[in-house]
């Protein structure tokens, strides 16, 4: 091969490699990206069954239920219009509390109960996950109901 041919082969090889990497990245992306749904969307049947997604809202006061001494627990996530019951087994974050914003990762069962494998609550008592704040505000004419402490922006 002449140097010119060799260079062209090299360039074609690199382009092919980058194209393959790009295609694999995109397919990995399509399969593994997680969408966010609020309780109204879940109740309306928008959320997929048996596919992982993020459920966000407020922990409904009085809904946290636990068998004493066990890691199994359940609570209700609400956007003040619709509720979704969540079951979870494990350690919850420090700031998991009633009337606080929460995001749960998991799957929705056919019985309408959300089985969470991960619970996120933010590390600031006034912090609201922005997506939760927006989902709730949309349903209340742009204002945040109930808890006056909740702001959409964390204190810096």
């Amino acid at each position: 091969m002449t140097p010119r041919q060799r260079r062209i082969t090299l360039v074609i090889g690199i382009l092919a490699g980058v194209a393959v990497a790009g295609a694999l990245t995109l397919s990995a992306f399509r399969e593994n990206v997680m969408f966010f749904f609020d309780p109204s969307q879940v109740a309306g049947g928008d959320a997929p069954i048996d596919q992982r997604f993020r459920l966000g809202g407020m922990v409904k006061p009085g809904s946290v239920d636990r068998v004493a001494g066990s890691l199994e627990m359940s609570f209700v996530v609400t956007d003040f219009q619709q509720d979704v019951r969540v079951v979870y087994s494990g350690v919850v974050p420090d700031l998991f509390r009633e009337n606080q914003g929460v995001v749960a990762h998991g799957r929705l069962g056919t019985d309408g109960v959300f089985v969470a494998d991960e619970i996120l609550a933010k590390h600031d008592e006034n912090y609201m996950p922005p997506e939760v704040a927006r989902a709730i505000k949309e349903k209340h004419g742009g204002v945040m109901p109930v808890n006056p402490d909740v702001r959409s922006v964390p204190r810096t």
Partner: protein
Amino acid sequence: MIAEIGHFTLILALLAALAQSFFGLAGPGLERPSWTQATRPAVWVQFLVTTLSLAMLVAVFVQNDFSVEYVAANSNSALPLLYRVSAVWGAHEGSLLLWAWILVAWTLAVALLSRSLPEPFAARVLGVLGLISVGFLAFTLFTSNPFLRLDPAAPDGRDLNPLLQDPALAAHPPMLYAGYVGLAVAFAFACAAMIEGRLDQTWARWTRPWTTVAWAFLSIGIALGSWWAYYELGWGGYWFWDPVENASFMPWLVATALIHSLAVTEKRGLFKSWTLLLAIMAFSLSLLGTFLVRSGVLVSVHSFAADPARGMFILAFLVIIIGGALTLYAWRAPLLRSEAGFEFTSRESFLLFNNILLVVAAAAVFVGTMAPLISDALGLGTLSVGRQYFDPVFLLPSLPLLALAAVGIHSGWKKGRISDRRQSILLALLGGVLLTLVLVLGVWEGAKILTPVGFALGLWLMLSALIDPIDRWRRKLSMTRAVIGMAIAHLGLGLFVVSITAVESYTSERDLALAVGESGRIDQFEYRLEGLSTVEGPNYDALRGEIRVFENGKEIGLLHPEKRNYWVQRQVMTEAGIDIQLGRDIFAALGEDLGAGRWSVRAQVRPLINYVWFAAFLMALGGVIAATDRRYRGRPEPAA
């Protein structure tokens, strides 16, 4: 009064930075030597006033002056002195001032160590650095002034976020910023070279040590952040693909590509325009990282600061800096043609593939980090990208990268004479495979598919990195710092891969529900809760558990995890109990009261996890050693 001095010196710093960029750029441009010569004094002035400004901010924190809003928001009279100082960069305003100070400190270092550079070139480098200073100082002054007064003064402060009251996190921002800002030096060198339209091997020789040191700081900064997240957030992992983590990891990947590409430009005069592009990209990603972390556009576990106006300012700054540099690049890059060719098995082509794979990896991380923002901005739905995406797309380019590194570090320039070293490389591979078998079959049991692959690649790279120094030692050849540094850095990379493989393959973890006197099992380990007591710290009280850990009935550790309640912010915090052993960490974090006298306990045993951070430190150490090589000190030889 002290706050006012700080505020005033900050204004002076902005003026000095303006003067520095004006003299540095206009002097050589209009060929006015007296202006050019004024650049270095301007750097000195900017350094002195910025230092004074930062010192004033430290002083108001140390004095507990709660009439300053920033102090009142981030400190408290009960806060220990160390954290009163680190609270200076505990939030947005102060960390920007710290950034500006580190930038001017780097600039001063460049001013002092660039005496042997042609005067106009050095002035241009300082001028570009001055422009970046102007951006950051204006940003601090106009949107995020830490010296604003609070009237009336607060009786006491709202305290530093308890999560940040930690020695590793006190050091994390300065290290990370030193890395980010160090990449500004490479960027300024690139811009100066493009303005002059001249980019020779001397240029690469000048840029290289600065970039390598910046990269080393960045490595240590990221490792400290990762270590902190491990023991402080109570989740027990070392990396979460959190957007804020990615924001620092992307510049690191591109900077890694840059230090390798600079090697080619220095030794062979090739890849010139590519090197320039990488220098621009590395600094742009640093700025983007700042934008992502500081603007609050990210949904993150630790986006501490958020303000849309600040976000817009950084975005505009980003557009000006990146847009300007890329325009300059489009105009000047065609001048920088590389003439020489190289063979397929030469070091040049190994480094070419190194660069492609690193940039592909950075692009994959970029896509995953930015997609949620873009999808959100376009109204396509709120989505999130987690480790199910990042793990495979990052591994894909990384695995071939490691194999190429194990071979490529022995390739020669230009012609490529791997055959000289073929035996040693194969011997290292054989050694790696044998050690892998020992680890998989002897030390730990069982394996996932990637476990032997990870071990073999990591061990191969470690052994391969040692070939050259051992060979030189046996043949009594000179051992330059470049050789030692390169060997240590690649040894560190190999160790990093081995330790990550062990952590990912052999971690035992489970959440347990334990009452005092009860025990729970994870694999061959048994956690027994011996007792719970109340303890008191300087600004918190805590419930402290005492947990004994047994392996196959034999006691192997005693842990004291705490659940702290910080008084001022009324925030509950988990302080994990960790027993650091030679080959593993035994970890426990207290969860919550489950009722019936039981507490939830997060129990984990992670093999080799400490070596993840130690390996990052080795890589950084290798970088620093290589950057202090003899050829970078003293006067450079004339360009080849």
